[in-house]
């Protein structure tokens, strides 16, 4: 039996080693998170690798000590290992195992905080573009304030440029995740949240909703295609000329729960994104809306319709109710 146990330990080691090798060796595109295609994903991968290494510093000794102790002090006739039933206290040891983990947490914590703050900023200095993303049951609408075009279930972005994905939902919340570009963020009704991503190389990247939204959830796949700035602009121009417009009726159609394929539109009703956010409770999130507004570097239209000021929460909606006495 002891033999079996050791075998199992060994297997565990091997498994662990395998995972570590896979992680460190930058593997095929199917290991999406481990094969980032942009600076955001890369930063996150760096943090992941750092954390794996730090964790191995602890896991390996723990398992080694376990194997050693269990083997050495097993209760077997003739075992000559020392037996000391009252050995139960050691200041030195206690300091070691409070101390080392504290150190590791300090290192990992620092890295974490640094990355957390970094990821709230655009990943590079190039002039960014904005894409407004709305999740529906069970599809994704992408709106491009730049060219005023819209797509469903797929998106095109230029390479080497920070993309400001502004996220909301017109259905139960979902989460916008393109693993090879970087981590996810929730799309929530009544909120407009910012997610910075950037592609470093052209390619087609798998994306999916990551927060459960009911029956159609498994089908909330979309693809993000990164291409050169020129091609991107050509694409916009092409769409403007060739695709139909997104009407109010189409928009309402989108909000009916269903699973559909790709769609392309040459324009969309002005302010539809902001209206969605406001209709679903955005008025109460003045702070975040204003912050988002500020974060918008001059991309022409921005995401706030000009002249629209966010109502502050204290002055909203007094619908003529008199003070009663």
């Amino acid at each position: 039996m002891k033999g079996k146990q050791q075998t199992r330990r060994l297997l565990t080691y091997a498994g662990l080693g395998a995972v570590a090798t896979v992680m460190l060796s930058g593997c095929g595109a199917q290991y999406q998170v481990l094969d980032p295609a942009g600076p955001v994903g890369q930063q996150e991968l760096n943090l992941i690798v750092a954390s794996v290494v730090l964790m191995l510093i602890v896991i390996i000794p723990v398992i080694a000590i376990l194997v050693y102790v269990v083997y050495r002090y097993r209760d077997k006739p003739g075992n000559t290992a020392p037996y000391d039933p009252h050995f139960s206290d050691s200041k030195v040891l206690e300091v070691i195992w409070w101390g080392i983990p504290i150190l590791i947490v300090a290192i990992l914590g620092t890295e974490t905080v640094r990355t957390t703050f970094q990821l709230t900023k655009p990943p590079s200095n190039a002039t960014p573009i904005t894409v407004e993303v709305t999740s529906f049951d069970w599809k994704w609408l992408f709106q491009y304030p730049d060219g005023h075009v819209a797509t469903v279930n797929y998106a095109y972005i230029p390479v080497g440029v920070p993309v400001n994905f502004v996220l909301t939902s017109d259905a139960p919340m979902n989460s916008f995740w393109v693993p090879r570009l970087g981590g996810q963020e929730y799309t929530m009704p009544g909120m407009a949240m910012t997610l910075w991503l950037q592609a470093a190389q052209p390619g087609v990247y798998y994306g999916h909703g990551a927060n459960f939204t009911g029956r159609g959830f498994s089908h909330t796949t979309f693809y993000v295609t990164a291409l050169s700035m020129d091609k991107y602009q050509q694409w916009i121009a092409h769409v403007q000329q060739s695709a139909p417009a997104l009407t109010q009726t189409d928009y309402r159609q989108l909000s009916v729960p269903s699973v559909i394929g790709n769609e392309t539109f040459s324009s969309y009703p002005t302010g539809s994104f902001e209206n969605t956010v406001l209709r679903d409770g955005g008025q109460y999130m003045a702070e975040s809306m204003q912050m988002m507004n500020k974060l918008h570097p001059g991309t022409g239209s921005g995401s706030m319709p000009s002249g629209m000021t966010m109502p502050t929460t204290t002055t909203t909606n007094k619908t003529g109710h008199k003070k009663h006495k």
Binding site: K4, Q32, L66, R74, S88, D89, L93, T112, G281
Partner: protein, 654 residues
Amino acid sequence: MPPSHLSHWGLLITGDPLIYGADASIALASIAIVYVLTKYKKWKWLWDEWLTTVDHKKIGIMYLIAAILMLFRAGTDAELMRTQLALPNLHFLGPEHYDQIFTTHGTVMLLFMAMPFIFALMNIAVPLQIGARDVAFPYLNAISFWLFFFAAMLINISFVIGGSPDAGWTSYAPLAGSTFDPGPGENFYLMSLEITGIGSIGTGINFLATILKMRAPGMSLMKMPLFSWSIVATSILILYAFPALTVVLALLLIDRVAGAHFFTITAGGNPMMYINMFWIWGHPEVYILILPAFGVFSEIVSTFSRKTIFGYKSMVFSLLLISLISYFVWAHHFFTMGADASVNSFFAIASMLVGIPTGVKIFNWLFTMFRGRIRMKMPMLWTIAFIPCFTMGGMTGVMLAAAPADYQYHNSYFLIAHFHQVLIGGTLFGMLAAMYYWWPKVFGFLLDERWAKWAFWMFNIGFYVCFEPQYVLGLMGMQRRMYTYPSGLGWTDLNFISTIGAFIMGLGFIFLVWDIIYSIRHGERDLTGDPWDGRTLEWSLPSPAPHYNFAVIPHVTQLDQWWELKQQGRQDELRPKASDIRPIHMPKNSGKPFLFGLAFFVVGVGFVFEWYAVAVIGFLGVGALLLARSFEAHPDYHIPVDEVVHTETALGRL
């Protein structure tokens, strides 16, 4: 307004073979139970000995049986899910079914398997360990059990009547609100958790009072066994965390049945507040699930290494520290909500900090074994398996706690793998270790080691085969809660392997059950009351313990009192002397706790189907029972000296 989607007849008629099957098997099982009870004239026995009992040991047994049944139920769910996911594009289960199944799997595993398992151990071990005759409030203890029991009934009938909840064990609004999820399914979830949650709060209060106020004379807190200490920490967490669950469920229920706007999208509702409050409870809850296991391992490691626990003081300190910190980490479940970077930073670091006291415990266990004499009995085997498994799970937890990295893991199979590794490798292994450990104390016989080893190896190997691949699947971008996935993303092989692992675990479970059945007939009887050469007071009593536990309350002078006395050949000091025996004050059995649970069940049914008259009847029942109890003059009695002497003599202790 009567909901139009609920017709009285439609509830049972679903047109689904799976559900008809379940309907039929439940009906058959009920008929069989009624038949057996009637044939062997066991109704009175059932009522007198079990349904009305206020004895903590019997309540513990009932919790234990319920927990194992629920492990089977939710485990079957797991096997169904894994079957569906074995290959891409399968249609073994449709999305409706799959959604219901993962929801009930998670909910039942956590609230109706792990929680009662823990309560079983608390009831079985705590009063005996601290030298008490019962818990502080035996009547409340029975109420807690029946609330749990009827809540479990409620969630289990949902599958056959009206439809199961299908919005995940987290049941996020607005998805779980009436707009997107009409019908009684979610109400089942809300009501059953509400009811069992109230019971859990009762248990928390009860054991905190028991441990703080009823220890045997001389047993200062720092001489108390670590399992009891872990229950102190757990009870504190229950006390401060469960009210949040009560509130958040009530608010969602009010939204659903009364049309309020806490978490709706319209009229100013704020769904994020649901998420926030759910995790104010939800995170402490996972530590409620792990701390008792830590307590169990402390007892077992020390007993089976024949050695004093290493670093007792820092063991106690780390328990309390974990429960404190764990109250300040809840937002790590929604790092991806886009909250302020300072919010994420704060909660990330707080989450990592939990790892430090947890690590201290791991090292203290290792060094308890160091220079000991390790006996590889079943409880110890599960403990040894726990250490690497839980450490790895905890480490991936720390990886999740690195907020920006979590943007990549969140809601992926990486997360699924993390929490199964801590829930199974930590909680479940702990519960099973404890089951083997205290089984002889409770039932008077040992579980057979041979079959137990089969169960052990199947479960362990199955575990790694099932869940390690899921880490990789997560990194490959596979989300949780998908009822199917396309081929071509490279997920097929690992999913298939994972499914094989799940079936190996299922085999392990079958061996475990077989072991119990086998041992009932062939298991070795425990005649000494101390089969493991134990250290704490419960092993100084006969197995099973008499219903008043201690004929004479022992005096305690040190940690591991029983073991130390044995070392010095003074174990007779813990035997009662006839001259010391006094009449013993005991609580009377009562049928009210059972009726109390039943009344809450009626309330539950009333809200689930929005039949308010029924709910009102239930509430009236609850009120009437409370008043009846209040007016009861003598809820207790005394066991005369003669009877105690008689019992003790029969046990050979006088």
